[in-house]
Each structure stands twice: as C-alpha cells, then as structure tokens.
Symmetry: C2
Subunit: 104 residues, 2 copies
C-alpha cells in the first residue's frame, strides 16, 4: 500500500486565523512554506529544505504546520511527503497564502 494519508489534519472550518499566523510566524516554517509553494509533495528528508536542523526539530515543525491546517502528510512505507493544502486554504482564507508567497 502507498500514499495513504494517515496523519490527522484539522478541518479548516475549525482553524482560526491566529492559528495559521502562529504556525507561520517562524523563519523555519516560512521557509518550508516557500518550498511547498510549487504545489508538489516534498519528502520530509533533511536535504530538501535548506535548513541546518536536526531531524527531530524538523519533525516538530512539520507537526506544527500540519496541526495548523497548512499541510497534509502522505505516507509511503517509511518515507513521508508533505503537501500544502493550498486549495482548501484559499477557500478558508482567501488571498492569504498567495500574499505570503508573493512577499519577499
């Protein structure tokens, strides 16, 4: 079996703006967001993100973003990928992700 989503993600209807902002008010997670901007799924492996962090720290940031409704996880064997929930976010918070990704 592969690509089953099996980490719990919140319904965006229950996510508040302040939750999303808290999740993104961190340089590491903002960098992760930028990488995810291409709309594709990215492996959780360290080299992917251009960040000099331990894997446990990275794992913490992934969890934070997922619980804030920003990402979903795709599990395939022992590797994981994450994807930005861009369409759903655009419905819940129109224009927000776009403006964040456009900022330099």
């Amino acid at each position: 079996m592969s690509n089953d989503q099996q980490y719990p993600i919140p319904d965006l209807a229950e996510v508040e703006l302040v939750d999303v902002l808290r999740a993104l008010a961190d340089p590491v997670r903002l960098q992760i967001l930028q990488v995810l901007a291409d709309g594709r799924a990215h492996p959780k492996s360290q080299p992917e993100w251009g960040l000099d962090l331990q894997k446990s720290t990275l794992s913490h940031h992934f969890k934070t973003m997922r619980e804030a409704g920003l990402t979903e996880t795709l599990v395939d064997g022992r590797t994981h990928e994450i994807r930005l929930r861009r369409d759903e976010l655009a419905v819940r918070f129109p224009g927000l992700i776009d403006s964040l990704l456009a900022a330099r």
Copy 2:
C-alpha cells in the same frame, strides 16, 4: 502643538514578513488590527479595543505592533492615537493586510 508623530517607526523596506507575522500571531493584536481596519486613528485608551487588559499590557501590544511596522502613533498632549500604516503595508506586502482583514 499637536499630532506630531514622535514614536519611532521602522522603514517597511527593512521589515521582514516574519516580523509582521509574529506581531499578528496573537489574538489581542489581531483584535487591535480589526479595530484599525476602518482606516482611522484610534485613541489608545482602554475602552476603545474591547479587551480586558491592564493599560501596561495594552501599551506592550501597541509597542509590538509599532515596532513591527504595522502602526504609527500620533501624539497630542498626553493622549495618543494609533493608525494602521495600510498604504505602506500594501506596497511592501501586497494583499496581506486585506486578506487578514477579510478572514473570519
């Protein structure tokens, strides 16, 4: 003399997105932002904001927002007003403030 702006505000060119997000990733300051959404200057006095906080706490939040580039202060004698730097913010972070104010 009145309405001289005399609290230092940063040049938005030097403000990073993460600074703005940190400043807004708080329910109190998000509420203040909503009040400022009408574009007018609002007095710092407590009844204005619908928040049950001591004045020293409110003062802390105003300072945080000002230093993040979100607001400017207008001093008139012993009373102060603050205003959202909306036009400048729209140039530096296009669409961001609008999407935040539209979120429910």
